[in-house]
């Protein structure tokens, strides 16, 4: 150690810290700029700054720095899923069963068409199916953030949120089943193919039920003290994310179900206004910026053609599904088309699924990722724009009519 040990030397142990601040600062400024001058969703600004600062562009944030922030991302994703779960009303499906039909149909058609495209691109069948399954999911983070920023209310917004929650669940389940089959192909044990999906689904639901019960009990104990209830909810969501990940369950399914059950169990409607507010907002900004930073945008050029086909197939499948049952479910075709557009964003769950896949079956992840990444990269920017456009054109935003 030198005599002048108290003087700074670079790089310091905290070398990433200013870059995190810069990321947050840049993302917020860019977000406001996008909102004010382009009248587009703020999250486009967050994504752009993340992409520019990330390891694949300027490299201000290296891969290690991003990895250090992973826990924050997990919390952010957990909060988004919990909030979405809390927002959807499953009893609506009972009162309007055509909506359940719509959700199954749009997911199935999107899956089928994407599968065909990937097969045509000579992907191995099971791998193509797994990638198509991941593509079923609409991004909860994007739809929720865009809808909330616009303060959208109406059939397009409500149905977009409901269908997003449902197709995320389908994506998790179908991907789990397919990945289990993939594993069986390699491991040769059929029991894995059956037990793994069952463990994933029922384990996640059981975890969700336990946490929902515990949450309501704790909130009641705390009484009508909003601050305390809020922090209690944040802490429980964090623990739930940790528990789901440690038990190798599906974080996505567990947190969505947790939110939905917390709502169903709350019979007296005491906690209906539970939202994550500013804390959630900071995490959300980081979530979008960092997801964009970790995407390898150079893959965009190489995978552009198949990626574009994949996106077109997905959009066509969702649109067909939504439009086919629109009259029966009580929605004019014009609004149904907008609803289909609103379902375009893809990222959050797809990224989670890819991470989960990578963790469980490291040997498949690179191949799967290469196929999906270019589509995700395009939709990262296109998706929020389309959701924004759909909600504005549907006339469901809070802005004044002048």
């Amino acid at each position: 150690m030198s005599d002048l040990f108290f003087l700074p030397h670079f790089p310091s142990a905290l070398s990433q810290l200013p870059w995190y601040a810069l990321l947050l600062f840049g993302a917020v400024i860019a977000g406001e700029a996008v909102e004010r001058w382009l009248r587009l969703p703020r999250l486009l600004g967050w994504i752009a700054v993340g992409a520019v600062l990330g390891p694949h562009q300027l490299g201000a944030l290296d891969a290690g720095g991003l990895e250090a922030l992973r826990p924050l991302l997990d919390i952010a994703i957990g909060m988004v899923l919990f909030e979405l779960g809390q927002r959807v009303d499953l009893s609506w499906l009972r009162r309007n069963p055509w909506l359940l039909g719509t959700s199954v149909l749009e997911s199935a058609l999107a899956f089928g068409l994407m599968y065909v495209v990937l097969l045509a691109a000579e992907a191995p069948p099971l791998l193509a199916a797994a990638a198509a399954a991941i593509g079923i999911a609409t991004s909860p983070a994007v739809v929720l953030t865009v809808a909330r920023d616009l303060r959208a209310q109406g059939q397009v917004a409500e149905r977009a949120l409901l269908l997003t929650a449902l197709n995320s669940v389908y994506a998790v389940i179908v991907a789990a089943v397919l990945l289990a089959w993939l594993a069986r192909d390699y491991a040769g044990d059929w029991r894995v193919g059956v037990l793994h999906p069952l463990y994933l689904i029922f384990g996640s639901l059981a975890l969700a039920a336990a946490f929902a019960g515990a949450t309501l009990w704790l909130l009641r104990l705390l009484g009508r003290r909003h601050e305390a209830q809020f922090f209690c909810a944040v802490a429980l969501v964090v623990i739930a994310v940790w528990a789901a990940a440690s038990l190798k369950l599906s974080v996505a399914l567990a947190l969505l179900a947790y939110g939905a059950m917390a709502r169903v169990f709350d019979r007296r409607r005491l906690f209906v206004s539970l939202e994550f507010g500013r804390v959630g907002r900071i995490l959300l900004i980081l979530l979008f910026a960092i997801s964009a930073a970790s995407l390898d945008w150079s893959l965009l050029a190489s995978g552009a053609f198949v990626g574009a086909l994949l996106i077109a197939a997905r959009l066509a499948g969702k649109a067909l599904g939504v439009l086919a049952l629109a009259p029966a479910s009580g929605m004019p075709l014009r609004k149904a088309s907008l609803l289909a557009l609103a379902l375009t964003p893809m990222s959050g769950i797809a990224i989670v699924l890819m991470h989960e896949t990578a963790r469980l079956y490291p040997q498949f992840a690179p191949a799967l990722a290469a196929v999906v990444v270019s589509a995700i990269a395009v939709l990262e920017l296109l998706g929020p724009l389309l959701t924004h456009f759909a909600l504005v054109r549907a006339g469901e935003t809070a802005g004044e009519v002048r």
């Binding site: 609506w92 309007n96 709502r263 007296r268 409607r269 809070a398 009519v401």
Partner: protein
């Protein structure tokens, strides 16, 4: 300028308009759903009319013209069922009540029609504050002079209608201590209050011509009076009632007004003088603030008694007329309101049990659906 022509209508016929709240089923706040609902409602047959109102969070239903209470209540139920069938499908809650307990008026959006946009520009925040929900009762009159007589004779009973229908104790998230806080939002408008004391249709036309040539009003719609003549329907319109929590209560209030009108037109029990208005605003305040426990002063005799007691005395006098009009069941319901308390009381009790305003709104939604 053309004088207003009073269209003759069959005396004592009835019509009801109800403004209803549209709430989401998640946190029970008001939601923008009127356009979506109307688009679906238009596709299925239903009696009466279902129409847009000033904001997207509001919908108005109105009945056709009825001579008798049983048909009126039947039609109101059918309209409600048609509306609720669509609302269920779209996951929208529909509730009665004079005001939403916790909505914030700045969140409201004015409907995109020329008339509504004009009202919004003229009145600014008042137009959005006016996200309150009332019941209007129309009573047919043979001619304009009858209408003006009935309007002024009915004024004495305005506190009764306020107290019987009051259903807006909570406003902007607080207990206002009023039974009907809704009327306070109405009183802010410059042309609210009572109609001028003129007793013939030509005299009313003179007044209207002066107001119009002075540029104060353009049409009858610019008057927000408690009771106003509606010449194009040939009716007087009682506008002080909060929308009750169930359509049956709304029909009973209309039947009460009908029986009262019959008595006033046939028996002409009180002399109609401007002095009758001396205690008008005092009594009206009492009714808004204290409901049926409020105190009503008779300005001429100086007699004061609780409004509930005054309703009971009126019911006795109306018994004959109710029999003629086949509305005895409605009179029994009004008597029940006096005995058991109005909707404002029901709402305060439910809030005390549930301890959350969203929960209260949820119960209001259930009560409209289940009736009574």
């Amino acid at each position: 300028m053309e004088p207003l022509e009073f269209r003759r209508s069959t005396p004592l016929t009835l019509g009801v308009e109800l403004e209803l709240q549209l709430v989401n089923r998640r946190d029970c706040d008001l939601t923008r759903a009127a356009s979506d609902l109307l688009a679906q409602v238009a596709r299925r047959p239903h009696p009466g009319e279902i129409k847009p109102e000033i904001t997207e969070s509001m919908i108005e239903v109105s009945t056709s013209v009825h001579a008798r209470y049983p048909a009126l209540v039947g039609e109101l139920r059918q309209i409600r069922d048609a509306l609720l069938a669509v609302a269920e499908k779209l996951n929208v809650g529909v509730a009665g009540g004079g005001a939403h307990p916790f909505q914030h008026w700045s969140e409201r959006r004015i409907m995109d029609t020329p008339r509504m946009q004009h009202v919004s520009q003229l009145y600014g925040y008042l137009a959005k504050q006016f996200t309150v929900f009332g019941q209007h009762i129309h009573i047919g009159c043979a001619e304009g002079d009858d209408a003006m007589y009935l309007l002024h004779a009915m004024a004495r009973y305005v506190p009764q209608f306020i107290a019987l229908s009051a259903a807006s104790p909570f406003y902007q998230g607080v207990d206002t201590a009023f039974d009907s806080s809704r009327l306070n939002a109405v009183f802010a408008f410059p042309l609210s209050g009572r109609a001028p004391f003129v007793l013939t249709w030509p005299a009313f036309n003179d007044y209207f011509a002066k107001m119009r040539s002075a540029g104060i009003v353009e049409s009858m719609k610019d008057f927000y009076w408690d009771i106003r003549p509606k010449p194009e329907f040939g009716t007087i319109e009682i506008r002080v009632c909060d929308t009750p929590l169930g359509v049956e209560r709304a029909a009973a209030l209309a039947a009460y007004a009908q029986a009262l009108a019959r008595r006033l037109l046939i028996e002409r029990p009180h002399p109609v003088t401007e002095d009758a208005y001396l205690a008008y605003t005092y009594n009206r305040f009492q009714a808004c603030r204290f409901g049926l426990e409020g105190e009503m002063v008779d300005a001429e005799s100086g007699v004061r008694r609780p409004i509930g007691e005054d309703v009971r005395a009126t019911l006795d006098a109306l018994a004959v007329h109710a029999r003629e009009l086949e509305s005895e069941a409605a009179m029994r319901e009004i008597a029940d309101v006096v005995r058991q308390g109005n909707d404002a009381r029901w709402m305060r009790e439910r809030f005390a049990e549930g301890r959350s305003l969203p929960d209260l709104v949820w119960r209001q939604v259930e009560r409209l659906r289940e009736g009574r």
